[in-house]
Symmetry: C2
Subunit: 346 residues, 2 copies
């Protein structure tokens, strides 16, 4: 018999609400013979305030045993900026070597975009997840004085760049348009930029069917709003990926529908799936959050675990639900979850 052993981290703010709907849809879509086990972990602001802990070695050991992780959102204004981000979210991504941060952007029919006209948007960003300016390298001297100096070190390795570039080429190769864009800023960040560009060009030789282009990150933001149809697969560094995937989410229906996977393709550690949005404390507990991004993250999770048909069923359900929203009264978080659960079961 098949089984999925899932770690569930609702986290802070709307995380609780959207994860509940994600699980509802997951239960509804799974075939009878698949045994779903879930274990909830209480990470985030509450745990931090109660114990001062964000993510301990014992926590990592416990999480390691699961097949995958579903995360809602982490972050609360009561916790100083960076404590939970660095102490939990990034710590987990780094500890479990989530080097492929996968973020699809697809503008579904009937969904509102801030862009004029009827842009065609269907691309996926492969964001590096374990290097770049996210390593936490750097420091501060003479803190709080007029002579303070603070540094941030972006660390980039051939090993780290090549594996994510290779993953992106394979994804581009598997898509009908077979296009891959490298986004960086190699005219200014010449050390890291040349490493990325050299590795990209070397791996490109192994994928002759993939059409490639290089684009500076600043120019990429222009194309994302003027010619988003230009993109098929994008590969980029951790920080540039953070920035352009929020912009990509905004133009392709908003962060209410943007899903992501923090993937360790080797399977050595469980991969983690989470909506791109944050904990949105301003609307927490009011049933106002759109669970679609979390539900779509569940689809990515299922695809990662080999449940392709179920993943597609979820994606089609969300697309259908979004397509029928225009002109309808607002629904609560759980009403949307209910509707999606019915659709995927049906």
């Amino acid at each position: 018999a098949r089984s999925i052993d899932l770690a569930v981290i609702p986290g802070d703010g709307i995380g609780q609400e959207v994860v509940a709907e994600g699980l509802k849809v997951l239960s509804a879509v799974l075939p009878q013979d698949v045994k779903l086990e879930t274990k909830e972990y209480d990470f985030g602001a509450r745990r931090y305030h109660a114990t001062g802990e964000t993510l301990t070695d014992a926590d990592l050991d416990a999480l390691k045993g699961h097949d995958a992780i579903l995360l809602g959102a982490i972050g609360d204004p009561s916790v100083p900026s960076g404590v939970l981000e660095r102490g939990f979210l990034l710590k987990l991504r780094f500890a479990f070597d989530h080097h492929v941060n996968l973020r699809p952007s697809k503008l579904l029919p009937g969904v509102r975009t801030p862009l004029a006209g009827e842009p065609q948007i269907d691309f996926v960003v492969v964001r590096e997840g374990t290097e770049g300016p996210y390593t936490g390298n750097g420091g501060t001297i003479r803190k709080g004085t007029e002579h303070e100096v603070a540094t941030e070190v972006s660390v980039n390795t051939a090993f780290g760049v090549e594996r994510v570039v290779r993953d992106a080429f394979a994804r581009a190769q598997a898509r009908p348009r077979k296009k891959l864009a490298l986004i960086h800023k190699n005219n200014v960040l010449t050390f890291a930029g040349h490493l990325w560009t050299d590795v990209f060009n070397r791996v490109a030789a192994e994928f002759p069917e993939v059409t490639t282009e290089y684009m500076h990150v600043d120019a990429a933001t222009i194309y994302l709003v003027t010619q988003p149809e230009r993109f098929d697969v994008i590969v980029t560094d951790n920080l540039f990926g953070d920035i352009i995937t929020d912009l990509a989410a905004a133009v392709s229906g908003g962060i209410g529908v943007a899903a992501s996977g923090n993937i360790n393709p080797s399977g050595a550690y469980p991969s983690m799936f989470e909506p791109v949005h944050g904990s949105a404390p301003d609307i927490a507990g009011q049933g106002k959050a759109d669970p679609s991004a979390t539900v779509l993250s569940v689809a990515l999770l299922l695809r990662h675990l080999g449940y392709e048909a179920e993943a597609t069923r979820i994606e089609e359900a969300v697309a259908a639900d979004l397509g029928e929203r225009a002109g309808q009264p607002e629904r609560t978080t759980s009403e949307i979850g209910d509707a999606l659960a019915v659709r995927v079961a049906g």
Copy 2:
């Protein structure tokens, strides 16, 4: 008698064409009693290929004597990425301590934006120009091997952050809405981010009339396309400023109309004014480039030198010209320049 002694650097690609129009409009707008002297410098790809030089100490000495610098664009595909950017453009910005990189974004009536609806866009980005990841600190070991490591070091000082933050507060204070947003990524880049945030909050105490907010750079890209009216003045670091000003240009009429000033407010060195766009080699020499961004950069230049009325006249002329473009046949670069020269003179 008053005089302006201007260094002119047409540079590469469309730089030549747009600078010619900038000078045309400058001559037309200046009162009779102002003596305009210009000296052209041949920096860029041609000089690099001929001599291997990008910007020598002697060049810097010569440029230093001018009141201001007007630059077209630097960069050509025949030169390896980074050589002219680091060797000329950034070298000049750093040598002349251009720490206030000023980039206004205003969507003028009648101008096309990729955004739906009728967004109100009128803000200015104050981008730090001499620190951050642009310092060129960092390096590469084991280059070209599978063990290559490349680093980029973002350097941030209390001195450098405070002066640009102070400049931004003063600009916000002088504007009707008196709003200032700090954009950074202080939840991940905690060393630099906390320095920026601390300095920002400290200086804020001196400007009680200015309303402030903090925003992560990823979230800022969302607001730039969904609520651009939210912004009045933005202050941010060198790299984030690079990225968001291209996006800002895209949503507020395109890089054909985005002007910038690389300003040294102390006057110790001449400030440099340039369009945000690049050298666009694909359309160079064809009279297709829009000189408006360069002409608006001339307006910033004049304002910097104290010619407020003339600066405003240019801005009004460009606004009027853009407002009448819809439905009209395309004009050449010099036809647009001619029309603007007539307007400012009239």
